[in-house]
């Protein structure tokens, strides 16, 4: 199959983004199907961004933020990301989009190995799910 999954990853610069940098420094390999977009805080992400990713060709969206409850550099952005994503995934269930195409993970700045594991796992999952297709029945 020639299809390569395309995944957008929103990483907050303080935690998951730093973990991605550390993964680079440690030369840990992971799937190249994932394009990171670094944002100040996962609280910056709104459901619109996730939907735009899917509308423009993404097969999966990964959100990497700081651990709940205390790690968020901006105190509570990760809670906002969690709540918004949770409710969005409920909507996705209703519209026939597999909710597991959106994954939100808490990855601290030192957890580069976790980042690599999550990325590779997620890419495999998306490969199994196949490219995004509407299921409006």
């Amino acid at each position: 199959m020639n299809w390569k999954p395309r995944i957008i990853a929103f990483f907050c610069k303080w935690c998951a983004g730093s973990a991605a940098e550390l993964a680079g420094v440690s030369r840990l390999e992971y799937s190249s199907n994932i394009i990171p977009i670094i944002i100040p805080c996962t609280g910056r992400i709104s459901p619109r961004h996730i939907v735009e990713a899917f509308l423009n060709g993404a097969d999966g969206v990964l959100i990497g933020g700081c651990h709940i409850p205390n790690d968020c550099h901006y105190l509570s952005g990760n809670f906002k990301a969690f709540k918004r994503t949770y409710l969005l995934k409920k909507l996705f269930e209703q519209i026939g989009l597999e909710p597991s195409r959106v994954r939100i993970e808490w990855i601290s700045a030192t957890e580069s190995k976790k980042l690599v594991r999550v990325v590779n796992e997620f890419v495999e999952e998306i490969k199994k799910m196949g490219p995004l297709s509407g299921k409006g029945d």
Partner: protein, 646 residues
């Protein structure tokens, strides 16, 4: 800037072989040239080097670039380096971004060269999409008033005030009781050194009084705080002392003739004071005060005062102060012993709390340092200490107050020194003695004083017909029930923070479920709270002993000084801003901002430039897109997403 044609320059670094060894630079340059808006592309072996930076500087000038993308390592490494180069080239630093093609591509996809190159291209093109939407900004400068307010005149407040004043910054110290000194002034000796508390405290209190940089308001409370970091406007309510401290000589004639007797707060009800009183002899200010609630205005004191210091007509006064930073050190009180009904506190006069015991021990206390029963004045031969009274208990306080094991051991030692033939019993659950020398201190006392340490809880305390207290408990190590008949029972009650809720809400200090102020981070920012410019010290943050309190007070003083000493603060200008034409006043952004940086002005939201930290949670929650995070707007993010997926 709006209508200007965007001219993006992209500079691709080889980073030696780090990038060039994996990524096909030639192909990358070719593809990047095709990106709409990119007018210039250059690659070089080490872009961060002097010659590399010069290429950027020259290109900006020569090619009239108004946006720059440097594709290299991460911003954590060289953001500043290239920012300065860009500025030297005459371009505002916020019109430049970095694309991390090293850590995010060449270093992690080193076996997939084609994919790595493609990914590098996507990283660069999405960064170009972002930078096109960037605008130029200057750092935000805010004025800072070079003065600090300290709320609370206990050992924490005193320490902070002295530290700050010695750095040359004026301090306003506000204390709600008639004298500074706090709970430490009530103590007899302090563990583990057994220093006399008054001896180490009163010199500091005197320094506060003498220091021209410290303005002391006693019998005063902060009733209103307005403003924000660097510019707080504070209103202080001064209750009328009715005695002029500058005239009072502490001769005590007034006290002798006052007809009103009231339980003494300083002695925690173990003795009486008059309506005109001095809390303790070493009080600062060194002056009497009138208890307005109980004074009958008989004027007997006025008639005998040799210096005419008393004015019964003095009224409340409100003063205003402008400060740049606030340190809150409001301290604690003990948990209400009355709630422990099974222990008979409040019912039996010989069941007392640890602070009351300190007053009994103190040579300037109500009994002159003699340990006698409050009920009948008879000497105490047997004493029972109950640790963890109303603490570590789901029915009362869930937490541990940390200091009780240490001060109980201290109490045991001091008791045995004065009553060598006395019997001391300690009911405990654990012994927590974690500080330097603390374990040795407790061990010595356990070994040398003959005190009986019983591991178990007390279920009941009651008085028998002979007036002796009966303590019923259990020894969990032997499994037996224990009954001790004793003269005195001392309860180690928990420390409860006394931060007034409305002060906390005015200062926007987050409170945890036990009433303690919540620090931003216990390790990274232990004395700061979410509100910029407000710091905490002492038990307000959590139970702790005096040395930890002093450390924290100095830490807060240091933080406050960092803020005010330069007289101005500079902030990253990439904050949120509101388009008032679109805002409908729904208050959703105001409600979620973690820094309370958004307020409503004339029905619409407005972001405080100094308080906003630039997280962008507001833009994501605005229902109509009225608030945007500078250089990180929704439209930019959506462009980045689209470009990354092309």
């Amino acid at each position: 800037m709006e209508n200007e044609e965007v001219r993006v320059g992209v500079f691709i670094c080889h980073c030696g072989r780090n990038i060039a060894g994996v990524i096909d630079i030639k192909k990358l340059v070719e593809e990047v040239r095709k990106i709409p808006g990119v007018v210039y592309v250059e690659d070089y072996v080490y872009m961060c080097s002097e010659p590399g930076q010069k290429k950027i500087i020259d290109a900006i000038k020569r090619e009239n670039l108004n946006r720059v993308v440097v594709a290299a390592c991460t911003p954590s490494m060289h953001y500043e380096t290239f920012a300065r180069a860009v500025e030297t080239g005459g371009l505002n630093r916020f019109l430049y971004e970095m694309a991390t093609i090293r850590e995010f591509s060449s270093w992690v996809h080193y076996r997939e060269r084609e994919d790595a190159t493609e990914k590098a291209f996507k990283l660069i093109s999405s960064t170009v999409a972002k930078v096109k939407g960037n605008k130029a900004y200057e750092p935000v400068k805010g004025r800072v008033v070079k003065k600090v307010l300290v709320i609370g005149g206990g050992i924490a407040g005193i320490t902070a005030a002295l530290d700050i004043a010695s750095a040359g910054i004026p301090v306003v110290l506000v204390e709600k009781t008639p004298s500074i000194g706090g709970k430490m002034a009530m103590l007899s000796e302090t563990f583990p050194t057994l220093d006399c508390a008054q001896c180490i405290l009163t010199p500091k209190m005197a320094e506060v009084a003498r220091n021209p940089g410290i303005k002391l308001y006693t019998l005063s409370e902060v009733i209103d705080v307005e403003g924000f970091v660097g510019n707080y406007r504070v209103r202080i309510l001064k209750y009328p002392r009715k005695v002029d401290p500058s005239k009072c000589t502490v001769c005590s004639f007034c006290e002798r003739v006052c007809p009103v007797k009231v339980p003494s707060e300083f002695n925690r009800g173990l003795s009486f004071r008059k309506a005109i009183y001095i809390p303790f002899p070493q009080a600062i200010p060194s002056s009497y005060a009138i208890d307005v609630e109980h004074c009958t205005k008989c004027s007997a004191c006025v008639k005998v005062c040799p210096v005419g210091a008393i004015n019964l007509d003095e009224q409340e006064e409100i003063v205003e102060e402008e400060v740049g930073a606030i340190i809150v050190a409001t301290g604690y009180d003990l948990y209400q012993g009355l709630k422990l009904r099974e222990y008979g506190y409040g019912k039996y006069r010989n069941v007392i709390d640890s602070l009351q015991f300190e007053r009994l021990l103190s040579s300037s206390g109500p009994t002159g340092g003699e340990i006698i029963r409050p009920s009948d004045g008879k000497p105490v031969k047997t004493i029972v200490f109950i640790q963890c009274a109303g603490q570590r208990d789901v029915n009362h306080l869930p937490y541990c107050s940390k200091i009780c094991c240490m001060y109980t051991a201290k109490h045991v030692l001091l008791f045995k020194e004065r009553v060598p033939d006395g019997n001391a019993y300690v009911f405990y659950i654990d012994i927590r003695a974690g500080g330097k020398g603390y374990e040795e201190f407790v061990k010595r006392i356990q070994d040398e004083t003959g005190a009986v340490y019983i591991r178990g809880r007390v279920s009941r305390v009651y008085e028998d017909s002979s007036g002796k207290l009966v303590v019923e408990g259990v020894d969990t190590l032997s499994g037996e029930n224990i009954i001790v008949k004793t003269d005195l029972v001392v309860l180690a009650l928990g420390m409860v923070p006394t931060l007034p809720p409305d002060l906390a809400s005015k200062l926007k200090i987050p409170i945890d479920e036990n009433g303690f102020a919540q620090e931003v981070h216990p390790k990274l920012r232990p004395v700061e709270v979410a509100t910029s410019g407000v710091f905490i010290a002492g038990v307000i943050q959590g139970p702790k002993d005096i040395s930890e309190t002093v450390v924290q007070a100095s830490a807060s003083a240091s933080k406050a000084l960092q803020l005010v000493v330069k007289g101005e603060i500079e902030k990253n200008p990439l904050i949120a801003e509101v388009n008032r034409d679109v805002c409908n006043g729904c208050r959703i952004c105001v409600s979620i901002c973690p820094y309370n940086a958004i307020e409503m002005i004339e029905g619409k939201a407005r972001v405080n430039e100094i308080l906003c930290e630039g997280c962008g949670a507001c833009e994501a929650s605005c229902p109509v897109g009225a608030i945007t995070l500078r250089n990180y707007s929704d439209s930019q993010l959506i462009e980045m997403i689209k470009t990354a997926l092309r």
